[in-house]
């Protein structure tokens, strides 16, 4: 069974139809990269999948359990308890980190495990320290977000998302707010997660990274999936003119 299955997802903002029927599956252990120009609907897709936006039609299921199901054109969203169960399947890393500025690195990471998952504080801290060492931030547990570089903040945000043991982790342009030097350190962390077969869906403008790390690449254009496949197919043998133009402008 697919970890994530999206069927015919549509979403409009006013008259602007941003998603025009998106369908795809993510299997366990896959790293899916979503590429495409700005305004193609990539971020909206992630926001619908993570329940930050409500879809207009279509269905989204995690491990066969529906976050939203389309019954004869009526959107039926999962209710409270179901919803919190489904939500525990995924995590999201934002473009601009969205760490909690009033909490230390450690407090940021254990906030949800302790208060949502009701894990004991000691257990949550132990886990947080393991994650911080994976992220190369062992010495920063008592720092506050404002004392960290952007790359460090984003790595804390990744640790915060991983602390809840999500089955699939979404990244919404995780390096777009970072300068090239810091981009590298964040991508290295994501690459390590891919090596460990963490299931991930990454919206990115880093073409070389998508090519090297992803197991599946989706190219979105004007609200539809214009082309998808294995990275070497998508990058070295693009079929559509639109993708050829896009890759050309991305100078790869």
């Amino acid at each position: 069974m697919a970890v994530l299955e999206i069927k015919d997802l549509k979403k409009s903002f006013g008259k602007n139809e941003v998603l025009k029927g998106i369908s795809f599956c993510v299997q366990k252990g896959q790293t899916v990269a979503i590429i495409g120009s700005s305004g193609s609907g990539k971020s909206t897709l992630l926001r619908c999948a993570t329940n930050l936006e409500k879809a207009d039609s279509g269905s989204i299921a995690y491990n066969g359990e529906y976050l939203v199901l389309d019954i004869d054109g009526q959107q039926k969203y999962a209710q409270k308890e179901e919803l919190s169960k489904i939500r525990s399947n995924f995590g999201l890393v934002f473009q601009n980190f969205n760490l909690f500025p009033h909490l230390s690195v450690m407090q940021n990471i254990i906030e949800a495990p302790v208060n949502v998952k009701k894990m004991s504080k000691a257990e949550a801290e132990k886990k947080a320290r393991e994650l911080l060492s994976q992220m190369g931030l062992s010495d920063k547990e008592n720092a506050y977000p404002c004392e960290l570089s952007g790359g460090q903040q984003q790595r804390v945000a990744i640790a915060r998302a991983l602390a809840l043991d999500p089955e699939v982790l979404f990244f919404d342009e995780p390096t777009s707010a970072l300068d090239p030097e810091l981009t590298g350190e964040v991508l290295a962390v994501i690459r390590k997660l891919a090596d460990k077969n963490m299931t991930m869906v990454i919206v990115t403008h880093e073409m070389a990274f998508a090519r090297d790390v992803a197991s599946h690449v989706i190219f979105m254009d004007k609200g539809v999936i214009a082309e998808e496949g294995e990275p070497k197919e998508v990058f070295y043998n693009p079929k559509s003119q639109r993708l050829q133009d896009f890759l050309h402008s991305a100078s790869l």
Binding site: T50, N51, L52, S84, R87, S88, F90, G91, L92, F94, N96, N98, L99, F100, P101, H102, E111, A112, N115, V116, K117, Y144, P145, C146, R160, A161, L164
Partner: protein
């Protein structure tokens, strides 16, 4: 003589302090409730609340004291505040709490609306519920943001307590003024200024301390 004056003024200052403290106790939570009302998605409630805030902030507190104390008697024909100084004092507290609640609500509203959407979204994808997001994520950050405007408003309150005398509630200025009639002395009235100065000085230091304490992070 100085000792007599000082003792009398201390008594008056005690009354002013009571008004100050009770106003804060009532207006700080009331302001948050009014702020929720004025940010409500239910537009009748939103516009009703904003109209109240406009009326309260748009008229003098002195006038509000008079209307709140005398108004019910004129309209209903009975004095709802009770007889004597206790009734007057209750009316003063009601007027002050309402007035300051409205001012505080706008400060809260500014603070709450200044928190970025990303903070709510981060809480949401971590599975936190609305209450947890508000009390654990948003409110602590609002608290830091509103300290400077709050300290302004609270220091204004120290001085506004003197308005209570328009409906005959005896506070610091009243006690100072009494010496003009009884002893022909004007300086006790002038001397009340020292009390206000010292008290607002202490508050300034206190707020400075809190601001410094919260400097460990930036929002």
């Amino acid at each position: 003589m100085f000792e007599t004056v000082f003792k009398a003024l201390m008594e008056g200052f005690g009354e002013s302090l009571k008004i100050f403290a009770l106003t804060l106790i009532g207006a700080l939570p009331l302001g948050l409730i009014i702020a929720f009302g004025s940010m409500s998605k239910f537009s009748p409630l939103k516009y009703f609340t904003r109209a109240i805030v406009w009326i309260i902030r748009g008229t003098p507190l002195m006038l509000q004291l008079i209307i709140i104390f005398y108004g019910p008697g004129l309209i209903l024909g009975t004095n709802i505040w009770g007889i004597g100084s206790k009734g007057r004092f209750i009316a003063v507290i009601v007027a002050f709490v309402l007035n300051y609640g409205c001012y505080f609500s706008e400060i809260y509203r500014g603070g709450i609306e200044g928190i970025s959407q990303g903070q709510y979204e981060a809480g949401q994808v971590l599975g936190m519920n609305k209450g947890q997001i508000f009390f654990r994520i948003v409110l602590p950050q609002v608290f830091k943001r509103i300290i400077p405007p709050m300290s302004n408003e609270i220091i204004t309150l120290v001085k506004d307590t003197s308005l209570a005398r328009v409906i005959g509630v005896y506070e610091l200025i009243h006690f100072g003024e009494a010496f003009i009639k009884s002893n022909g002395l004007i300086w006790p009235l002038f001397f009340t200024g020292v009390f206000y100065l010292v008290f607002s000085g202490i508050l300034t230091l206190l707020f400075g301390y809190i601001e410094k304490k919260l400097n460990y992070y930036r929002v």
